[in-house]
């Protein structure tokens, strides 16, 4: 749609701008403020410049959790995106079954994140949980609280359980937008199912897929509550992701300066990756 140039439209955007700026800019400036000062109490604070940044960029604990975070996000995207597409392709398109499917699939998205952790905590326990108990019955020594590998797998499976539906629903709505004519043409050409997917469905899903990848990247990169409830970051530090390390630093040890400095680095990483996705998306829109 060709839009009319009109700078008075700012008046319509102003409430949103003020509201979001209030909640975004003031806290953000506070974080910036923390990151360049050493604060002992209200009256004694010293400007330290880039010292905190230098310190956090060499902190092995942060390197470790950043690395874990990248591995985790990569795993999440690699599992959930293909699985979500596959499920969207098999979902019924019409009638009562399709709305039932939609509702059931939306349920995990509507559960508070700490309850998601609780559900899996209960479900995976070896003494009272169905999953844990049956795995142990099968002779697999499974204990997510003690075994690093088990904890990782449990957190990943929990995330797949929690968020694959979002990818599937996004793709599903993208698929619904394809007119029947395309499929008819494909049938006349005797196109294989793969060809239909590769040349009709995938290109038409491109936009929603980009949104799905972007949302999943952002949210998995910021994950905090679910692993915190499920494993508490353990065993050891095996599932301590970046947000949790930061929260420990800021609230637990009250190391405000380094925590703030790293927060900004963290934010910049997410911003950079999301900007790449956004540019790709708007670029795709133009074509």
């Amino acid at each position: 749609m060709n839009k009319v140039p009109n700078n008075k439209a700012w008046w319509l955007v102003l409430p949103v701008f003020l509201l979001v700026a209030f909640s975004a800019v003031v806290p953000m400036m506070t974080v910036v403020n923390y990151s360049v000062q050493d604060i002992f109490d209200q009256s004694s604070r010293y400007f330290v410049g880039a010292d905190w940044y230098r310190q956090v960029l060499q902190d092995p604990r942060l390197h470790d959790s950043l690395l874990r975070q990248f591995i985790y996000s990569a795993c999440v995207l690699l599992i959930e995106i293909p699985l979500g597409i596959a499920i969207a392709l098999t979902m019924p398109t019409k009638g009562r079954w399709s709305s039932l499917c939609l509702i059931v699939m939306a349920i995990p998205l509507l559960i508070p994140w700490n309850v998601v952790g609780t559900i899996w905590q209960i479900f995976g326990r070896a003494d009272i949980g169905l999953l844990g108990a049956s795995l142990n019955q099968l002779g697999i020594n499974y204990n997510y609280a003690a075994n690093t590998m088990d904890a990782w797998v449990t957190v990943l499976v929990m995330d797949v359980w929690h968020w694959t539906s979002l990818v599937a629903l996004l793709c599903y709505s993208g698929l619904r937008a394809i007119p029947d004519v395309y499929y008819q043409a494909a049938r006349i050409d005797r196109a294989s199912a793969w060809a239909v997917f590769r040349h009709i469905q995938l290109p038409k899903m491109k936009n929603v897929l980009l949104i799905a990848v972007m949302l999943r990247f952002m949210d998995s990169f910021m994950i905090y509550t679910e692993p915190f409830v499920l494993t508490g970051g353990g065993p050891g530090n095996a599932t301590t992701f970046l947000s949790q390390t930061l929260t420990q630093m800021a609230v637990g040890q009250f190391d405000l300066g380094p925590a703030a400095a790293f927060s900004l680095v963290y934010f910049l990483i997410i911003l950079l990756v999301s900007w790449l996705f956004y540019t790709a998306m708007t670029h795709a829109d133009k074509q």
Partner: protein
């Protein structure tokens, strides 16, 4: 239906439902039965866990608090996002693209970064431990999302409708409320659903900004851990009750959800 196609879908749905079933199953058991051994359904069916929640004010006030700030947030988000989304979908103005991206970046800010500054900000203006504080804080990620979804829906409405209305002598506010808003009714429903959803599931900010009067249910749930161990039955019952409001809301918008997930851009 061919089996080869439906079987994976059925398996996936089973995978989604089994953990929830387990929670539901547990909420109807007594603690002795839960810890006594594995039973696939409650042997001694009991409502005791639910009774604890519905009779103890510190429990059920958690639900009321959560519902209160979630509704407040949905109303605020929608009412500021509607005009803004209209502006983004109809006009080009100075810095519109940058503003849009800036709005979206706020969804990307890790909440962990904002915890302490938020606490200080809302304490300093005397809003700490109020519902409005949580509602305003959740606007940070809900308003951008609402603008994004609504803009998609509004772009689908032909511009000729606006022009005709103006020619017919409608003023902008009257046109907006009388004609435009009813046209994108389903879009508003879907947006409300998303705002509700994201505000309802968020815990970190809600917990940080409240202590007693506006304490959300998610924070009350941590109370089940006591000296005598975890009260699994009540924890499970509380979990089940947090799922219900979301299911109620999705029931209302079930026919528009597919379009909503496309962010109105289909």
């Amino acid at each position: 239906m061919n089996l080869r196609k439906t079987l994976p879908l059925l398996l996936y749905i089973l995978f989604l439902l089994v953990p929830i079933y387990w929670l539901l199953n547990m909420s109807f058991k007594s603690n002795t039965e839960i810890l006594g051994g594995l039973t696939l359904w409650p042997q001694n069916f009991t409502f005791d866990n639910y009774r604890v929640i519905f009779t103890d004010p510190s429990w059920y006030s958690g639900y009321i608090n959560s519902l209160y700030y979630v509704c407040l947030n949905t109303v605020i988000s929608l009412s500021v996002a509607l005009p803004a989304a209209y502006a983004f979908s109809r006009y080009r103005f100075l810095g519109d693209k940058h503003l849009f991206f800036w709005l979206l970046t706020n969804r990307m800010a890790p909440p962990a970064v904002f915890l302490l500054p938020f606490f200080q900000l809302y304490s300093s203006i005397g809003l700490f431990d109020t519902h409005i504080a949580v509602a305003l804080a959740h606007c940070l990620f809900n308003v951008p999302l609402a603008v994004w979804i609504l803009e998609g829906f509004m772009s689908g409405v032909p511009k000729e409708i606006d022009e005709t209305a103006y020619i017919d002598g409608y003023s902008f506010p009257r046109f907006f409320v009388k004609i435009f808003v009813p046209l994108i009714g389903s879009g508003i429903g879907v947006t409300a659903f998303f705002c509700f959803m994201f505000s309802w599931v968020e815990l970190l900010l809600a917990r940080t900004l409240t202590s007693v009067n506006a304490k959300p249910i998610a924070a009350v749930m941590t109370r089940t851990v006591s000296a005598s161990g975890i009260d699994w039955g009540v924890l499970a019952a509380a979990g089940v009750l947090t799922i219900l409001p979301g299911m109620l809301v999705i029931w209302f918008v079930r026919n528009h959800v597919a379009k909503g997930f496309a962010l109105g851009r289909v």
